[in-house]
């Protein structure tokens, strides 16, 4: 192998490595994350890709709530002090765009991530 051939090989190899690295960076996903907001501020973030169930106590504007992730990608409100219990009866959230809302507690759970191909959800 000539010296110049070796240089060419190194250049091509470097280029290939660069492309692979940048492809990985570009397609790096944060996974699916649930953001829990109370009165406009993020009070908790939950990685929904984790396989372990988690229970989170949240302090709402009206009183305490309990939010639970099931370790299978879903999150829901299991307890709330609000009168109508709409948040407790909302179907568990799992896909980006899903929301669980508790108006009396000014709490909203928003799912974000790159696991979906929609920009926004109308309901």
């Amino acid at each position: 192998m000539k010296r110049s051939d070796r240089i060419t090989a190194v250049v091509i190899l470097t280029a290939v490595v660069l492309v692979v690295v940048s492809w990985i960076v570009m397609h790096r996903t944060r996974g699916t994350v649930a953001f829990v907001y109370v009165d406009g501020k993020v009070v908790a973030t939950v990685d929904l890709t984790l396989r372990e169930p988690q229970t989170l106590p949240i302090t709402g504007m009206l009183g305490p709530l309990v939010v639970a992730a099931d370790g299978k990608g879903s999150i829901r409100v299991v307890e709330s002090t609000c009168p109508d219990q709409i948040c407790v009866h909302t179907v568990p959230a799992r896909s980006p765009g899903d929301q669980i809302i508790c108006v009396p507690n000014r709490m909203v759970i928003i799912i974000e991530g790159k696991g979906t191909n929609i920009d926004a959800l109308t309901q």
Partner: protein, 341 residues
């Protein structure tokens, strides 16, 4: 040999360099803000521009609309108009008068049979104003319907009058959509322009990119199950959904939703959800919001008949899930159903 490889190497190196540049270039991160307003959530997600400041300003604009239109706030123009019912004309702001005219213009496409801002005394009977839900007697409903119609309303450019002392108006059916109109007017003027803004106001959407984005994917919630029934591909738009699943109560296994059919005084039962997509023009947010109720309280046949008139008011397309769960669309839109579960 070397001569043949040289250009290939050059292309690979330049290509790799470009790919690396685009991958590592710092894309602006979206700023998401949530607010509580009009008994629902306002979520704003802005990418690019002075995102946090834009979100705050959009919230302030929506708050102004709430202060103007609220059914409850004693300072609102709605409360002043309702308070003077049966007494005489009340002077209102030009903005309020214009919004009322827009709402009434939507009513006229179906002669007020499917949407009426003066239906609120009937909504109150059902308990939707106070959340003390009950099923009223048929006589109560027919007695109340007698004065729960927009023919009670006398409009001028500066005054509003309700003839009957028991008549009431409620702009809850257009206020969220109108807020999106006000926000869009502002977004057009912002400098530097954000790359894109997604406003979700209680499920009503404004998708804004200054006309650059042609492939928004708007997911439509499954009215009975989890997730979406599919998505619509669209340019910048206002999107309004009227569904029977957001606010309702159940008695004896029957569902009573908050959208009252003005022709009967009973909650609409013909459809599970209707999504109206309107193009970006002044008042089309408010119009789309109101048209959602029109189509929600219409049969499939009436929907087809009304669609041309709705197109004349800026409607691009409509996605309907009827009472049996059957999905259909009106207009030249691309609806992509979610993959069968």
């Amino acid at each position: 040999m070397r001569k043949a490889i040289a250009p290939i190497v050059a292309v690979i190196v330049v290509g790799a360099g470009l790919a690396t540049f685009f991958a590592l270039r710092k894309l602006p991160e979206p700023v998401t803000s949530t607010y509580f307003l009009m008994d629902t959530v306002l979520t704003i997600k802005t990418t690019g521009g002075d995102a946090a400041a834009i979100n705050e300003h959009l919230h302030a604009l929506a708050s102004n609309v709430d202060s103007m239109t609220s059914y409850y706030n004693p300072e609102s123009e709605t409360v002043r108009v309702n308070g003077a019912a049966g007494k005489g004309p009340v002077s209102v702001s030009p903005e309020y008068a214009a919004l009322l005219k827009t709402a009434v213009a939507v009513e006229t496409i179906d002669h007020g049979r499917t949407f009426d801002i003066a239906i609120s005394p009937v909504s109150s009977l059902w308990g939707f104003m106070t959340k003390d839900f009950r099923v009223p007697a048929a006589k109560e409903i027919s007695d109340t319907l007698a004065y729960s119609h927009s023919d009670q309303l006398v409009l001028s450019d500066t005054t509003v009058q309700l003839r009957d002392s028991q008549a009431r108006i409620d702009l809850g059916g257009v206020a969220k959509g109108y807020s999106l109109d006000v926000m869009e007017e502002y977004l057009k003027t912002v400098k530097p322009q954000p790359r894109q803004v997604i406003v979700d106001f209680g499920g009503n959407l404004l998708l804004y990119s200054g006309g650059r984005k042609r492939d928004w994917k708007i997911g439509i919630r499954d009215p009975r199950g989890q997730g979406i029934i599919g998505y619509v591909r669209s340019g910048d738009a206002f999107v309004a959904t009227s569904g029977d699943y957001e606010r309702y109560f159940e008695r004896d296994g029957k569902r009573y939703c908050h959208i009252i059919d003005p022709s009967t005084g009973y909650p609409g039962t013909l459809n599970q959800s209707v999504t109206v997509i309107t193009d970006i023009q002044p008042m089309h947010g408010a119009i789309g919001d109101a048209l959602g109720k029109v189509f929600f309280c219409s049969t499939a046949e009436t929907q087809r008949l009304l669609f041309q008139a709705a197109q004349g008011q800026g409607t691009v397309g409509i996605v309907i899930v009827d009472a049996a769960g059957t999905r259909s669309t009106l207009g030249p839109i691309t609806f992509v159903p979610a993959a069968a579960q």
